[in-house]
Symmetry: C2
Subunit: 153 residues, 2 copies
């Protein structure tokens, strides 16, 4: 799990973009300038960002659809995730792997950690099967306090 500990940012950014690049080449997807730039922005900040916040960083008088299109592309192809609870987006911490993550969201500092999720395997999966519901995608978002914010309080 990639969590709240500090770490080497520049490495994150480099591997994140490289992974997206590689995966796009092999899948025939186009990692265009705007898309790459938005991914970099998410990786640099390394936290959940709203679409309009990304838009500001893009500058150049970019309009909402520009940000939303790039973000949609990144989310659809697994390079970023949408955090429903925050109406925000965050770079994926495990680019390339096929996964349905869970998130730990700190309500103090808005940091977001990505954890492996097995929502469809546990009792929720059982309950779903029992009533004949077919789960396609699961959103798991836990809100609480990260270690730093617990200390601060």
């Amino acid at each position: 799990m990639i969590g709240f500990e500090t770490h080497d940012h520049s490495h994150c950014i480099a591997t994140g973009v490289a992974a997206a690049d590689a995966r796009c080449r092999e899948a025939g997807l186009r990692l265009t300038e705007t898309r790459r730039r938005v991914l970099e922005i998410l990786l640099e900040r390394h936290r959940a960002m709203g679409a309009y916040e990304v838009l500001e960083v893009l500058g150049k008088g970019a309009k909402p659809p520009t940000a939303y299109r790039a973000l949609d592309f990144l989310v659809k192809n697994g390079f970023a995730h949408r955090i429903e609870r925050l109406n925000a987006f965050i770079a994926c911490a495990h680019p390339g792997e096929d996964h349905a993550p869970a998130f730990l969201i700190c309500r103090g500092c808005d940091a977001v950690a990505e954890a492996p999720s097995e929502a469809t395997k546990g009792r929720l999966g059982e309950a779903a099967r029992k009533v004949g519901f077919r789960i396609e995608r699961a959103v798991v978002e836990a809100v609480g306090l990260c270690p730093k914010c617990q200390d601060a309080a």
Copy 2:
């Protein structure tokens, strides 16, 4: 679990409102006319409704804050839940019990079932403890197809 099967609606509404009434009395909360009406609306429809949809049903030229305030009250006190993924609200299926539910959301017909959640107990809970994150609340929303919509497809 309360799911996709058909059932006696009027019973739902009666018990839902009664439970809220009882719980408010014992907790010193005020289930005012608007709040009661909004709860009834959610119970009648028995599906996730947007705040503006509730507002329309309220009629009488009600303005957004009226709906949001009532919904906030109901959510805060456990009589309704917010479905992040849909920006919508649904009456609680287990009024009175203290619980952190998971939801099964059908993308075909927008029906929502409430299932017991144990997000903080399973591996997510372990992962959180491991990094020192204290979970306060968990949102679990699974998107997929309910039995009826699977048949239709």
